[in-house]
């Protein structure tokens, strides 16, 4: 079983986590057209590569962002949303 580093609770088996999906900024609903909105709602990019994703450590209720290389199945780093590490992006 994979290990996932929770930024608060440390390395834990991945079964303690919930995977939400890729971090995808929402387009401005007032400005984008219907097609762009539908693309945001329904389409996902399944191509392997380096992904930024929302993950949740269930026992502690911690949401965080994980950067994963889905080709090599490696977690590159994790951080709390809007934490100082994130600002470096």
């Amino acid at each position: 079983m994979k290990l996932m580093p929770c930024p608060v609770n440390g390395l834990r088996p991945v079964s303690e986590f919930f995977y939400w999906g890729e971090v995808r900024p929402m387009p401005d609903p007032d400005r984008c057209d219907d097609a762009a909105w539908a693309d945001y709602v329904f389409n996902r990019n399944g191509a392997p590569g380096i992904k930024k994703e929302w993950w949740y450590h269930t026992p502690s209720g911690t949401w965080f962002i994980a950067e994963r290389d889905t080709i090599r199945d490696e977690v590159l780093r994790t951080w709390l949303h809007a934490s100082p590490e994130a600002e470096q992006q």
Partner: protein, 231 residues
């Protein structure tokens, strides 16, 4: 009167009136038939102690203003001077267990900006004895031995499929230092977790232990006895 979530499970082993006592406003069996030896392996219901939580960005400052010893780092705990303990769950959530005084203070705290009270009616368990680690190995997928090397640590993890807060402590049994684990979970999972753990405990030759045995081992906070360990 409060009732433990495990009340009916206890009733099946200890009939009503046969040695039940009121522990901090909660009826509990004083002793069970075929009790486990706390020095070897035993499981106790400690839900009678009172709990309260608080979370939010202002929670730490709020607790400090109350004069409480707030752990500076996430996932650490420390004993309270008058018994009981305060634990920092992650960055901005706190858990307090004591005889009731602080718990009431927190629960009734005025809603301050960035301070959110967390009402808690957890099922609280005490797993104790030299074989306690074997029970953890059968139910928890984290390495408590590594965790225990650093004092004052706690773990928010999954135990037999239930989200739990676990604090490793130590107790004295005669001259021996024996491992003791405090375990808290959502009370709706309490009966399942207790049944599961007790099943394993009994399979390994241990058993339940009642209030008398528990007090002997880890006296309740109201008696002004601190949890052992050196956080």
């Amino acid at each position: 009167m409060r009732a433990s979530a495990l009340h009916d499970l206890h009733l099946a082993r200890v009939p009503d009136g046969a040695g039940w006592i009121a522990a901090a406003g909660m009826p509990m069996p004083a002793a069970f038939p075929n009790e486990g030896d706390p020095a070897t392996l035993a499981l106790a219901d400690a839900s009678h102690w009172q709990r309260a939580g608080v979370k939010g960005p202002g929670a730490a400052a709020f607790l400090e203003a109350l004069g409480l010893p707030v752990p500076a780092q996430p996932n650490r705990w420390t004993p309270l001077p008058r018994g009981g303990l305060i634990a920092r769950l992650g960055l901005t959530e706190f858990f307090i267990e004591d005889a009731g005084a602080i718990a009431r203070l927190i629960a009734n705290a005025p809603a301050t900006i960035g301070v959110y009270p967390v009402p808690r009616a957890d099922t609280a368990l005490v797993l104790t004895g030299r074989d306690a680690n074997e029970v953890l190995l059968q139910t928890c997928n984290i390495n408590f031995k590594a965790l225990e090397r650093m004092a004052g640590q706690l773990a928010l993890t999954s135990m037999a499929g239930v989200g739990v807060l676990i604090i490793p402590q130590h107790a004295k049994s005669g001259a021996d230092d024996i491992p003791l684990y405090r375990i808290w979970c959502d009370p709706s999972y309490g009966p399942y977790l207790y049944r599961t753990l007790l099943g394993i405990v009994e399979e390994l030759g241990g058993g339940p232990v009642g209030m008398t045995g528990l007090d002997h081992l880890a006296p309740s906070p109201s008696d002004n006895i601190q949890p052992t360990g050196n956080p």
